[in-house]
């Protein structure tokens, strides 16, 4: 199906829906690298006008990636709920934006339509929304998830403590973990990216974290972010709380990650059997990021933001506890600078929340991207206002294993302070009982005899 739009007597033609979506995307280097972005600023806005006239219902029949050749498309189409869709089925993309911004479209209403939305509808509307729209609507979509803590309540902000070490040194990881706990981090998860995917290393790290958690009585969950097949290998013998996997929005992207829906389901079923949660049993942790499909040559000429949003359909199938995009990690050939990273992060958070996911964000950048700590300060503040469920907590913002900068323990203190947010309730109670923070969320001075400071060598 062809689309066109006339600006000052010049008519732009868009040969199909995926071309229209790509041309309507706010500029980013990844779409330029793929050769699918608008050629001029005018063409981009022309495409946005044309996209705003597309009926939402068209996305149910015009598939950007064929149903026959992609299991993610089949998942999206087969799980679409016509009942939830009925109240908005008459809207165009442009009027969907108008409707989303109405005061009467509140959290309850948004909850009723979420299963009627496909990733493509959500990606489409995000392309014609300004940053403030993405923030305002995301803020209305509260999504709460539960395992040993409750993450995502209004007025709460959680942190994944990320104590990575370049050689997976247990004492090094423990040292960073303790430092992070002293700053009130770790209520989303204590999650290690292992330097190797060796089952033995992963297993030992899980045992170490579990021991620390038990000894200190911390109401939280741990995770070693190994490949899902590695986790499945050790799940019978190691204390696995959450099952992790990186996922993408096309079947080919996922196969480049060495997974498919069946393997994910296997991991999900295995973790559900463990019943290790206390306040809930949401057991999956997924990471995503714009550009992964292009990087795997698996994008089918679909723009990177739409590919990313399709990954949320994969995540949604497995009722995850945590999902986050690693937005600035992939590099400048996909997101060049602070401006592109900020825009992409707000899109990812909005799209995931609208689809009903407990979305967090790795607010981050690499040293070859044109971004710095000031850009990250802007982004974390914007996402905090938008109600982002969780952020990373990396010692001093410097991940010495993955070699990139994310948010720090100190950033967590900043966000909770200026946004008036508190840790997850179970974890907050623990922090208070341990005397780590006071009622105002400020840090207490810890006695050197405090159990937290005497974990090494015990």
């Amino acid at each position: 199906m062809e689309f066109r739009y006339t600006v000052n007597s010049f008519t732009y033609n868009f040969k199909d829906l995926k071309t229209l979506m790509a041309k309507a995307s706010p500029y980013r280097t990844g779409d330029a690298l793929a050769g699918i972005c608008a050629e001029t600023n005018e063409e981009r806005v022309g495409a946005q006008f044309a996209l705003s006239e597309v009926p939402l219902s068209l996305f149910l029949t015009e598939h950007l990636i064929p149903y026959e050749s992609d299991e993610v498309t089949r998942l999206i189409v087969d799980s679409h709920d016509q009942n939830s869709f009925s109240s908005i089925s008459h809207l165009t993309v442009g009027d969907f934006r108008n409707w989303l911004l109405l005061d009467t479209t509140n959290q309850e209403v948004l909850g009723q339509i979420k299963m009627g939305l496909t990733p493509e509808m959500v990606a489409a509307v995000s392309k014609i929304m300004r940053n403030q729209d993405l923030i305002a609507v995301a803020q209305k979509c509260g999504v709460i998830s539960r395992f040993r803590t409750t993450v995502g309540q209004k007025g709460r902000l959680s942190i994944r403590l990320q104590p990575n070490h370049p050689t997976d040194s247990q004492s090094g990881i423990l040292a960073s973990t303790i430092d992070g706990l002293m700053y009130g981090c770790g209520d989303a998860v204590i999650g290690i990216n292992p330097a190797t995917d060796s089952p033995e290393v992963v297993s030992n790290l899980l045992k170490m974290l579990d021991e620390v958690r038990e000894k200190l009585g911390i109401p939280t969950q741990s995770c070693v972010l190994s490949h899902i097949t590695t986790t499945l290998n050790i799940i019978k013998d190691a204390p696995v709380d959450l099952v992790f996997q990186s996922i993408g929005g096309t079947e080919k992207t996922n196969s480049s990650f060495g997974v498919n829906l069946n393997i994910l389901n296997e991991g999900y079923q295995a973790a559900m059997e463990l019943k290790r949660g206390t306040v809930g049993q949401q057991v999956m942790y997924f990471e995503t990021g714009q550009g992964s499909s292009l990087s795997a040559n698996a994008h089918h000429e679909v723009d990177q933001q739409t590919c990313e949003t399709r990954a949320y359909a994969v995540a949604r199938k497995f009722n995850p506890f945590l999902v986050n995009s690693v937005v600035g990690f992939i590099g400048p050939e996909y997101l060049f600078d602070g401006k592109q990273i900020i825009r992409a992060a707000l899109e990812d958070h909005f799209c995931a929340k609208l689809l009903g996911l407990p979305m967090g964000m790795d607010v981050c950048y690499t040293n070859h991207a044109d971004a710095d700590q000031d850009d990250m300060d802007n982004l974390m503040t914007l996402l905090g206002v938008a109600g982002c469920n969780f952020f990373m907590g990396v010692p001093g913002a410097d991940d010495i294993m993955l070699n990139y900068q994310s948010t720090s323990f100190h950033d967590a203190m900043y966000m909770r302070k200026v946004l008036k947010k508190r840790p997850a309730p179970e974890f907050e109670a623990w922090l208070l009982a341990q005397g780590i923070i006071n009622e105002r969320g400020e840090r207490n001075n810890l006695n050197s005899k405090h159990l937290l400071l005497n974990m090494h060598g015990k």
């Binding site: 690298l33 990881i173 430092d179 700053y183 840090r443």
Partner: protein, 256 residues
């Protein structure tokens, strides 16, 4: 001297366990001035490393002393910004350079490709020393050529190697700078280079810098990859580095 404005972290023991930035202290939850500026300085150095220029004059001069065929080349990426945005251009020679390598009739066994990558300074400061240790030994057995490339990515060695009819290439390239190691060099080796190969056909030695893998260690591993590639007539993931051969380096991160 103790700064009374700063709430210190009672974790001196913890700091000995990791190079991560822990025990930084805080002022109202935020980073103390000294710490926030230190982070900024490390980031500034890393950014400067990305945009550092390849010292072609110095390198070409040093290379000429080896008395080997030498090619001074450029990729299709015209500047660093284009290089960052278009990795595909960094993998291809520009037209003039292509002509130069196409014209070559001399047979070569091994091409050593030197390129800036994401940290020219890593290469500017280390590669001459490396070549001085490598070339006298290798040239006893093999015909070697040298290529210096501006704005190159790893795969550009495939195009160069293929045109020069080489059996084996090693490309020396500046790695993405980390905050603690802005001048880190990596080496990728490929047997039977040809355009279109991907990373699973290569072996990699990374983290060559003053606090990482030493040049001596690196030369040992590179020798191993070269010998094994010629012996097996392949390179890449099938070629496993036997760490027992390098007992003292077990803790050094090595990507096989």
């Amino acid at each position: 001297m103790e700064n009374k404005l700063i709430q210190t972290d009672p974790s001196e023991l913890l700091k000995t366990q990791t190079n991560a930035r822990i025990g930084l202290g805080n002022v109202g939850g935020a980073l103390p001035t000294q710490q926030t500026l230190s982070l900024k300085l490390d980031h500034a150095r890393a950014k400067d490393a990305v945009f550092s220029p390849l010292n072609t004059e110095l390198l070409a001069d040093a290379f000429s002393k080896f008395d080997l065929p030498f090619f001074n080349l450029k990729s299709k990426a015209e500047n660093k910004i284009e290089y960052l945005k278009r990795p595909d251009l960094g993998r291809k020679l520009d037209n003039n350079s292509l002509e130069v390598v196409e014209k070559n009739n001399e047979k070569t066994d091994i091409v050593l490709v030197i390129t800036d990558g994401l940290s020219a300074d890593a290469v500017n400061t280390q590669v001459i020393n490396v070549l001085k240790q490598l070339i006298p030994e290798w040239s006893k057995k093999h015909k070697i050529a040298l290529a210096l490339v501006e704005n190159g990515r790893v795969a550009i060695a495939d195009e160069i190697g293929e045109h020069l009819g080489a059996k084996f290439t090693a490309i020396f390239i500046g790695e993405r700078p980390g905050l603690s190691s802005p001048h880190s060099m990596g080496i990728y080796t490929t047997f039977h280079p040809k355009v279109g190969l991907t990373d699973e056909s290569r072996n990699c030695i990374s983290n060559i810098h003053s606090d990482g893998l030493s040049i001596l260690q690196m030369v040992q591993i590179l020798n191993y990859y070269k010998e094994e590639s010629f012996r097996n007539e392949y390179s890449g993931f099938k070629l496993k580095l036997d760490l027992n051969l390098f007992e003292e380096q077990k803790n050094t991160p090595i990507i096989g």
